[in-house]
């Protein structure tokens, strides 16, 4: 892509396209929808983490007036799953996590469905659960999926290991770590943990499905990926894709939790059983926590060899992902977080084994950052610990190892001057927080006597979209009579601002005012063109590339018609201000409005026809990873960044107050400054949640103890840093739209590490586990330190 100056819309703040609909309450979410004749579905959920279903008695429920369908797992013989088809629509024979749906009811009223669910009696034989992924890897561990080898899976990419709990093992091998450690002056081993957390999109999962005559299905879903949903749905029920129609209107937040397929098969099965009436499933907040997926927990083990000069020579890592009961996106998280699992550093010898392990917990899925927050928590804390052991400044130590043009990543991808500059980002945040090195022990002691301690910390970050090598986007630009366009896409804008960015690109390329680009918030697999999925921070990148191509296609059509009317060659025409004119005679021109439905001559003759621009983009040059070495080219684009933070710690209570949080990202090109700032601040605050508060807590029996917002706290307006700064590095991404890189996930993924590092600076204590809540900090101060997780 050439990068251009003098952009009129791209690079400027423009108001969101969905603003008016959202401030007036008129934006309709699936949450808000009701169809004529619609039934309400409700679930019966397992109270046990692991149990055999002995018997389900649905008689009383079926007899209740208003009940139209009662379903149990035994009636459904289809498994769902993204990469490993391991999940029943309703549990059959066994339940694998507390909260798993075992039966469902559809009734005319919501409360009747609830009453009917209460009337369903399920008898369980409780089995011992396995809750820790490392224990789950022991040979004598109970198997979460005894029939793993019978499941269908994406061959060549994921490899569930029969008769174990291992859903996937991703290997990365570069150089020889044994030699590396032998050459090292210092070898350090560390272990970290980050717990499972929830997305807490404000709109819980919901969908409406209707079974139509002739094996057709219509679905409305609060989903991130209508086409992937349709595809998985069709596979699950053996239906033809053209017979399944998926609508996605406004979506109340996703953050990865609404990618893939969730409630739709169950809603459909209920609808089918209820004679084809539409059935709505809407998760209560409690069900959202108990039944819908979360971010996986991660145990990470590092062994790092460094030279006296502060060069990393060898790095050996084991990642143990707590996948929970089903593989969902978890296996791909384990894969993606492995190929960037050593951080943005030049590592000559690297060996990573990333195990995604089944346990009896609510299952894991994609969550903003796709494993990177968890991995960076370990990596970036590890960097500080190494620097400390070497007696080096942590910023300096990072700069000695950071990826620079000429280096290669751990999967063998060469770093060029176009890849991006983590070093610049690091320097920017170090400067923003006035980093001057760690405080001395005397300074810490002095602070302690005053009851509060201050500390600063930095952390680097990197991430590339985690996606299969061949993923694609398509866009239609459909002209209206007045020369305006409808931009049709199946990328979902659930708040990120993607549609506004795409509209900016369309206006830019078509040379029309931004107001003349309309983006309907109404993706529909029957009408909007294919898009793989809205995940991985790829939406704006690939979407805008497709828009640019579509605009070129539309302009070509306009010019073709114009060239006949103006009797010139297409090459001599230029477009500007909704007009097409002769390059050398700007006064000879035609308005788009006179061309886009076909040009009509005074005598009534007409030429051309409606203009519809079509554009597409497919990720290019990416490869699968070698199953044994992990070598290959997985990254569409890398986005680098860094956070710098200053905190104040109440030494008596352990409370952390964030005084300042500076973020620098190499975004390539800013598409919309206000939208970018919104993404960054939103991500940072979500990162603060992961850093300080959030954790799914389980009882020893595997019961989720905090399934609601009463005891699962996320940041409120009172939990913000006193100040936040954003700065950007602009290393153009050669194939990115206008040089831009993906940026939606990145702002959150190193926030916990930076805060953990600042905590070390403040207290002289290393923390190994998230969240860094007041209790953990306080008790660590009491004990004079923290143990690494066993």
């Amino acid at each position: 892509m050439e990068t251009r100056q003098n952009l009129r819309f791209v690079g400027h703040t423009t108001a969101r396209k969905d603003g008016v609909a959202k401030v007036t309450g008129s934006a309709q979410f699936v949450h808000d929808m009701a169809l004529p004749g619609m039934l309400y579905g409700k679930l019966v959920r397992s109270p046990h983490a692991s149990a055999r279903i002995v018997r389900i008695d649905t008689q009383a429920a079926e007899a209740m007036p208003g009940v139209r369908a009662v379903l149990v797992g035994g009636e459904l013989n289809a498994k769902i799953g993204l990469y490993v088809r391991d999940k029943d629509i309703l549990a059959r024979d066994f339940v694998r996590y507390q909260g798993e749906a075992v039966a469902a009811v559809a009734a005319t009223e919501e409360w009747i469905a609830e009453e009917a669910c209460r009337a369903i009696r399920v008898e369980y034989e409780v089995l011992p659960p396995v809750l820790d992924p490392r224990q789950a890897m022991q040979p004598d561990a109970p198997l979460v999926h005894p029939d793993l080898e019978q499941y269908h899976c994406l061959k060549g990419v994921f490899c569930p290991q029969p008769k174990t709990n291992i859903a996937h093992q991703q290997k990365i091998r570069k150089g020889n770590v044994v030699d590396g450690f032998a050459q090292s002056d210092l070898v350090v081993e560390t272990r970290f943990y980050s717990p499972p957390v929830q997305h807490v999109a404000l709109e819980t999962h919901t969908c409406i499905a209707q079974a139509l005559p002739g094996d057709k299905v219509e679905i409305w879903s609060s989903a991130q990926s209508p086409f992937t949903l349709r595809n998985l749905f069709s596979l699950c029920f053996g239906l033809a894709q053209q017979d399944v129609r998926v609508h996605v209107p406004y979506v109340g937040g996703g953050f990865g939790g609404k990618a893939g397929i969730h409630l739709e098969p169950l809603a459909y099965a209920l609808s089918r059983k209820a004679g084809g009436r539409p059935v709505k499933l809407l998760m209560s907040r409690e069900e959202e926590f108990n039944t819908m997926p979360s971010r996986q927990g991660l145990f990470s083990h590092y062994k790092t060899g460094v030279s006296k000069e502060g060069k990393i020579l060898a790095l050996q890592i084991e990642y143990y992902w707590d996948a929970g009961a089903y593989a969902d996106y978890g296996v791909n998280v384990g894969r993606a977080a492995a190929y960037s699992g050593a951080g943005p550093y030049q590592i000559p010898a690297c060996k990573i084994d990333s195990f995604v392990v089944y346990t009896n917990k609510v299952f894991g899925t994609a969550y903003r950052g796709f494993g990177h927050l968890e991995v960076l928590w370990g990596i970036e804390r590890n960097m500080d610990i190494l620097a400390c052991r070497l007696g080096l400044d942590p910023v300096e130590f990072r700069l000695r190892n950071v990826l620079m043009p000429g280096d290669t990543t751990i999967t063998g991808e060469p770093i060029t001057e176009h890849t991006g500059r983590p070093d610049f980002c690091l320097k920017q945040v170090a400067e923003a927080i006035h980093w001057q090195g760690w405080q001395s022990e005397e300074q810490r002691i002095r602070a302690r006597s005053q009851g509060v301690a201050r500390g600063k910390g930095v952390a680097l970050l990197h991430k590339a979209p985690a996606m299969p090598p061949a993923t694609s986007s398509a866009v239609l630009l459909k002209f209206n009579e007045n020369g305006s366009v409808d931009l049709l896409t199946s990328i979902i804008d659930y708040g990120q601002g993607t549609y506004t960015a795409m509209a900016q690109a369309a206006a830019e390329e078509l040379k029309i005012p931004l107001e003349k680009v309309n983006v309907p918030w109404d993706s529909d697999t029957a009408f909007t063109p294919y898009d793989w999925q809205t995940v991985a921070s790829r939406g704006a990148f690939m979407g805008c590339r497709a828009v640019i191509a579509a605009a070129q296609d539309a302009l070509r059509q306009i010019k073709e018609t114009a060239s006949q009317v103006l009797r010139c060659s297409v090459e001599d025409l230029v477009c500007e201000n909704e007009m097409v004119s002769l390059a050398h005679r700007p006064d000879i021109r035609l308005a788009y409005a006179d061309l886009v439905m076909g040009y009509v001559y005074p005598n009534g003759n007409a030429i051309g026809g409606p203009v519809i621009g079509f554009g597409r983009y497919i990720a290019q040059g990416l490869t699968h990873l070698d199953p044994e070495t992990g070598q290959g080219l997985p990254a569409l684009d890398w986005t680098y960044g860094a956070h710098g933070v200053e905190i104040e710690v109440d030494l008596a209570t352990g409370d952390i107050k964030i005084l300042q949080l500076a973020t620098s990202l190499d975004v390539g090109q800013v598409l919309n400054p206000q939208a970018l700032r919104g993404q960054v601040i939103g991500g940072v605050v979500q990162g603060i949640g992961s850093a300080l508060y959030e954790e799914l807590q389980f009882s020893p029996q595997g019961e989720l103890l905090n399934p609601g917002l009463l005891d699962y706290k996320i940041p409120t307006a009172r939990d913000l840093p006193e100040s936040m700064q954003q700065s950007y590095v602009l290393t153009k991404q050669p194939d990115g739209p206008y040089g831009a890189r993906g940026v939606a996930e990145h702002p959150m993924i190193s926030v916990p590490s930076a805060i953990g590092n600042a905590l070390y600076d403040a207290l002289g204590l290393d923390f190994f586990q998230l969240p860094l809540n007041a209790e953990r900090v306080c008790l660590a101060l009491q004990q004079g330190g923290n143990e690494m997780p066993r």
Partner: protein, 162 residues
């Protein structure tokens, strides 16, 4: 007198966005269910159903309340304002306009409640400081924006006018 145990259906009279409404509702119906299901005013959302998230906020006699924790029956004789009543004749309020201009919106699920709480604050106190603004929206969870641009939007209106 009617047997109280038979008062399971309540004859409601109230004003919603300035208009009189008369409906018979089951006693256990919440104000949120009433607004969303009966009146099809779906601007107020249910994010938790238990008072924690603020997505269901409406103004009851001018004060923000969690409609998920109020029975419709309790709103008898009350004046209810929902987000649908804020813009008049298609004209946005200055606050709504400010939300758009300041990028205070992402997914939009929290927006209705945020706007209403902020509007109630501004009507009580046209020039609130940052502290008061933060306090007024602290009962609204937003998972998308990180709140800063919302606070800025409200501040921009608080700074203006008399």
């Amino acid at each position: 007198m009617l047997n109280p145990l038979e008062q399971t259906i309540i004859s409601l009279q109230l004003r919603v966005n300035g208009l009189p409404v008369q409906e018979d509702v089951p006693a256990q119906m919440t104000l949120l269910e009433f607004l969303r299901q009966r009146l099809r005013l779906t601007g107020a959302k249910e994010g938790c159903g238990s008072g924690e998230c603020g997505a269901c906020t409406v103004l009851l006699d001018g004060r923000p309340v969690n409609a998920c924790l109020v029975l419709a029956a309790e709103a008898n004789d009350a004046e209810i304002r929902t987000i649908e009543g804020e813009a008049r004749d298609g004209r946005l309020t200055p606050l709504q306009q400010a939300f758009i201009e300041h990028g205070a919106i992402q997914c939009g699920f929290c927006t209705s409640g945020m706007v209403l709480s902020a509007q109630a604050l501004l009507e009580r106190n046209p020039h609130p400081g940052r502290e008061e603004i933060v306090e007024a929206i602290a009962g609204h969870l937003c998972r998308c924006t990180g709140y800063v641009q919302i606070v800025e939007a409200i501040e921009s209106v608080a700074g203006k006018g008399s």
